[in-house]
């Protein structure tokens, strides 16, 4: 690309033609790549971690719906703020609060 800057243009033109590291060597390339691919394949732990994260993300709306359902069933109204929430759920605890 012409930069409209002769000194930079000249530098780029010369630098473009220089191959600082030469050509890639094919020696051992396939062996190294295959070894890396084996390592890159996710194992059971990685697959489980991915699935569990997705499972958790998918479960969140279900958990919210369940919470709303339970709250409506027991008090026929949603708890009012954090205080109401604590009071409501404290009632289920087997403690003399």
């Amino acid at each position: 690309m012409n930069t409209n800057d002769p000194p930079l243009n000249q530098l780029f033109t010369e630098a473009r033609l220089h191959q600082p590291f030469g050509e890639p060597s094919s020696f051992g390339f396939e062996t190294r790549l295959r070894a890396a691919l084996v390592k890159a394949t996710p194992g059971f732990a990685e697959v489980f971690a991915i699935l569990s994260w997705r499972f958790a993300a998918a479960s969140l709306p279900i958990a919210l719906v369940a919470f709303v359902f339970l709250a409506m069933r027991h008090q026929h109204a949603l708890p009012d703020g954090v205080g109401g929430l604590v009071t409501q759920w404290a009632g289920f605890l087997p403690l003399p609060i």
Binding site: E14, P24, L33
Partner: protein, 199 residues
């Protein structure tokens, strides 16, 4: 450690299979198909990555890393886009990640200062020496740029890609590429003056 090359015996048969078939197999998780594609695209990846690496071992690691990114990203490849374009997009973004992650380390390292160049004892080809010196100077200037600026200049001015292609590879708008390139060249010009390397 033994190295083997199993590809030679089957190369004649392999060349008869179109690339799209190799891609389809690789997308399904066929490792042999991916290795075949990797061998085919390696020179292009090498050429692009060589503009960002500072040594041959670093370049080999970067190319290997790009190939792994391609392998991991293959399930997400959609055949609507040309495979080569997808490969280069992943490669360019991989090179950008490489620049960002290595920036601090690179800043602490010293490069060959063109102002302190010594005369070569081995009187090699004058033309080759001129190219190498230009490359060293450009590398020094690029090292001072932000990774985004460096990426744009490398793609536009060293790889001679067009604005539209560069924008597509990086995922920016064309006007963003032009503005970035203009500012980056201005900075390079200033660095060139600071170094006293203006002709």
């Amino acid at each position: 450690m033994f190295f083997f090359d199993t590809s030679r015996a089957t190369r004649k048969v392999e060349t008869e299979i179109p690339e799209s078939e190799w891609v389809a197999r690789a997308v399904k998780g066929d490792e042999d198909a991916f290795v075949h594609l990797a061998m085919s695209y390696r020179p292009r990846l090498w050429a692009t990555a060589s503009r960002f690496a500072r040594s041959r071992p670093e370049l080999e690691d970067l190319v290997q890393d790009l190939l792994l990114k391609l392998w991991r990203g293959l399930p997400g490849y959609r055949s609507a886009a040309p495979f080569e374009h997808w490969v280069m997009t992943v490669a360019v973004r991989g090179c950008y990640d490489f620049l960002r992650s290595n920036r601090r380390r690179r800043e602490s390292e010293t490069l060959v200062d063109p102002t302190e160049r010594r005369e070569d004892r081995d009187p090699g080809d004058e033309r080759a020496r001129s190219r190498r010196e230009a490359w060293e100077t450009v590398s020094l200037l690029l090292e001072r740029l932000e990774p985004k600026d460096r990426l744009v200049i490398t793609l536009l001015d060293l790889e001679e890609r067009g604005v539209r292609e560069t924008a597509a590879l990086i995922g920016w708008t064309e006007s963003n590429v032009k503005v970035r390139a203009h500012r980056a060249r201005k900075k390079m010009r200033e660095f060139l003056s600071e170094l006293g390397l203006e002709p």
